[in-house]
Amino acid sequence: MTIADAVRTALPSARELFADRHIGADGDEQRTMLEAVGYPSLEALVRAAVPESIQLDERAAAPGSIPQAATEREVLAELRRIASANTVNRSFLGLGYYGTVTPAVIQRNVLENPSWYTAYTPYQPEISQGRLEALINFQQLVCDLTGLDIANASMLDEGTAVVEGMLLARRASKSKSNRFVVDADAFPQTLALLEGRAAALGIDLDVLPLAETDPAALGDCFGVFVQYPGASGRLWDPASVVAAAHEQGALAVVAADLLALALVKAPGEYGADIAVGTSQRFGVPMGFGGPHAGYMAVRTGLERQLPGRLVGVSQDAAGKPAYRLTLQTREQHIRREKATSNICTAQVLLAVMASMYAVYHGPRGIRAIAQKVHLTAALAAERLRGAGLEVVHEHFFDTLAVRVPGRADELVAAAHEAGVLIRRSDADTVGLSFDEVSASDAEAVGAALAVFGVSDAAVPLTAAAPGEGDDAIPQPLVRESDYLTHPVFNSYHSETAMMRYLKLLADRDYALDRGMIPLGSCTMKLNAATEMAAVTWPEFAELHPFAPASDVAGYLALIGQLETWLAELTGYDTVSLQPNAGSQGELAGLLAIRGYHRSRGDDRRTVCLIPQSAHGTNAASAVLAGLRVVVVATDENGNVDLADLRAKVEQHRDELAALMITYPSTHGVYEHDVVAITDAVHEAGGQVYVDGANLNALLGYAEFGRFGGDVSHLNLHKTFCIPHGGGGPGVGPVAAKAHLAPFLPGHPMAQSNEHVGLAHGGAPVSAAPFGSPSILPISWAYVRLMGADGLARATGSAVLAANYVAERLRGHYPVLYAGENGLVAHECILDLRPLTGETGVTVDDVAKRLIDYGFHAPTMSFPVAGTLMVEPTESEDLGELDRFCDAMIAIEREARRVFDGEWPADDNPLRGAPHTAESVIAGEWTHPYSRESAVYPAGQAQVRAKYWPPVRRIDQAWGDRNLFCACPPPEAFA
């Protein structure tokens, strides 16, 4: 024991436990709450709620891998040590990941600002206008640069966006062909992703060198994919390939570099149907692979086929323009197995950053950055040729392929020695990609060129006259059209103006920095400042995902620890952190199950049982894994109907691949029969997928792997404190038993393939080997700060908060489902249908009225229509829980006044909600309720803390019927 350890042990009371900061209610408050629900302690409450059959016996007794809780200062010091084991060498690796300068005003006011990073997905548009505007700016940016008509916001990364492009082409193409043609000059990680995903769906992938292929010899296909410019840097005109594809009814998918598009012809201008890519180099650090926002844009006519979230303009009750998510019926939560995709959480925070980079730089700034990058590449090419080297492609934007017969490995090693990273394309070729950072780093460029024997390498590269090097972009591919002409991209170029624009938008939104966001199934808990600290440290932020292993030793150590901890907490043997969202974790887990069955010759096992109550994403993911969904009934208590399950297992015995079950259930209940359920599936040869979305109600008390789970995904953005970012980033690790390890996602460029001692051999599901590593320090820090005891306490506190809310509101709204001893798990469903039946007041009315009271609405109509699902989380204190319950009770009283005829059904504070400031001061007040009760329904206490919604209730139907998904002209808001 060191002296420090001894002091720590001797003085436990002097130590500040982070758990006391993370958990909102203190000891006295928890005693009050426990009294209300009738249990003597947290431990007693959880032991009464969780079925005995799955409870861990002696949680505290087992000495696991999770270290004792550390203080915030200690954790930061440990993270510093880990960070210092990483080495930031200047990257010329490219392949979709580039050095970029995050404007400090964006880093401080977006990435490091809880008003942006703690917001939820903008499903309540009235209180999300700020980030919806930022996202529509993103869509406009993508449309402008790609030359296409409609863009979503956003995709998970470029590789998966290409996969989604392939799937969109298959849905929309009139061709009967099952063949998808892929350009051989695509990024290698994209090729690996395409291969795995195409195989799961039985699509024939054909890789051809398209730049050298006669378009007439394209052959039958439903789609063609082109990387533009190619992985080798080559810039060529795909117009004839696109035309050949169209001739036979196929669609053209182009992965285009957004920065290149500032100088080269847009895909939409040569007929591409779909453009995809990443917005990383628009100010989002590489982060060893992510997170970054991918993008997808399509031509008119394909908008209903778009995956992911799409922001549109509608109007509010006062007829003013207002943003909202549009065409939501495309998405998995409604369309389930028929959805356009399984993606839900996207990369909102990163899309916001990228859009703001464009807002800050404007069209001239973006063009200047692109020119500087291009010029640096062109001058480097000149020097290399001058030194007698062959630069393979005459035309390029930022990447050079250099022929070095037999010497690639030697040069890559020499470059690494000199502190720069260049890419080995093959034994005879190396690649050099230039970017915003290296173009301003003459020393690094000099070091890179010196490796090739360029003697005057140190001469400043930027000294050349402007316009020089333009030969590298051939005339037909020179961009002539304008972009970023909307005023938003031409108004905020000073830091003062930018700071104020970001503040203006943030002020329109309701995030966790204003109050509780009690969203059932979404777990809007604290994202602590200490947990967030390391995300922007250069040692974590500025690493390329394909940097050599020795450069990323710190990252690999942190990833290894986190994998070990997550395996231990879930009772599994191995973990992959690669999936970029829960949906991708589901897909990875199901693909592993499919791979496992196939490896045993069980090709017929393709049926996936999914309970009726499951989240729509489950069904959408199953279809993408090549499985067939069979729905299992749910009984009147909201549990899986055991008899129906047994019948379906029997009926599909020989084809049974898997059961997907969420635990605790999507109804927020610990199902009693879960062991009987998993046994029935195993007995028939099926595998059990336990959806870990609700793991935060189990941590420390039960483990998926011990009650029958074979594989699960977890949501680090739920249980493990990665902030929601307004709808992403997320991380959806997949955890599994050892027998599935060979089928979990691998990656051709991974620096390490050891995951808690096991190797993963399946196809990748993300572009980067470790998904979104730069946000993993958040979850690492959370576990490190809480320790095993703290994590269990958080579970108990979350269960207590939910049961307390259920207890307080039960007399006003029926609580729909309950488990053992009448207890709910970490969330509860309030049934509004009786109230709606009696008074006509709808779920929408209540949700919008909560805005007037200063709250974000709970989850609406999921998993049961006409209900609200409340998840208070462990992070809210008793005062905030009571304030919420008081608001819900007051709203019920208001509804009674409608029922009593005091207020007409069509003119009352519920139907009129939310009330803007303008709505209560403009013109004559003609409503039967007062202005005060409209905007200060909670009385004087609310005056100081008032949140003012920027718009009135938004007309959903109007927006869907009048689709408009670009920046409206400023006059529209006049």
């Binding site: 019926t329 409604i334 369309r335 109509s861 959903q956 139907a957 869907d960 019927r961």
Partner: protein
């Protein structure tokens, strides 16, 4: 609104009006009310159709439903007005909100108004 007596119905909440050998098809008032604001209607190309096959989609702000052909025959007309103004399905489900016309050889077994109302519990 009660289901009109002169129409036939399916369990998928579609109605069929028979006029000679032409069947006009739409969705019922019950269905439009449950779906809520209809925002998009996708209708098939003209041509042969088999009963129970999917011929289109009705999309509201909160849900989406597939349209099944209630009869076998030849689609001879689709209601372009409803594609342009999907709200017609809400405002006039049995009239201007009709969806397709099918020339049929023989009608399958369909529900009468009473049986349909029993089904919807109205």
């Amino acid at each position: 609104m009660a289901a009109p007596q002169n129409l036939k119905y399916t369990a998928d909440h579609e109605w069929v009006r028979v006029d000679g050998d032409v069947a006009t098809v739409g969705i019922t008032d019950y269905a439009q009310s449950a779906l809520g604001d209809v925002v998009f209607v996708e209708l098939p190309d003209l041509g042969e159709v088999t009963a129970s096959s999917v011929i289109g989609e009705i999309e509201s702000t909160k849900s989406v439903g597939e349209l099944f052909a209630p009869v076998t025959g030849e689609i001879i007309e689709v209601n372009d007005a409803v594609v342009a103004n999907p709200e017609l399905v809400n405002s006039d489900p049995y009239g201007d909100g009709w969806l397709v016309r099918v020339r049929v050889a023989e009608l399958p077994e369909l529900l009468d108004a009473e049986a349909y109302e029993k089904l919807t519990g109205e």
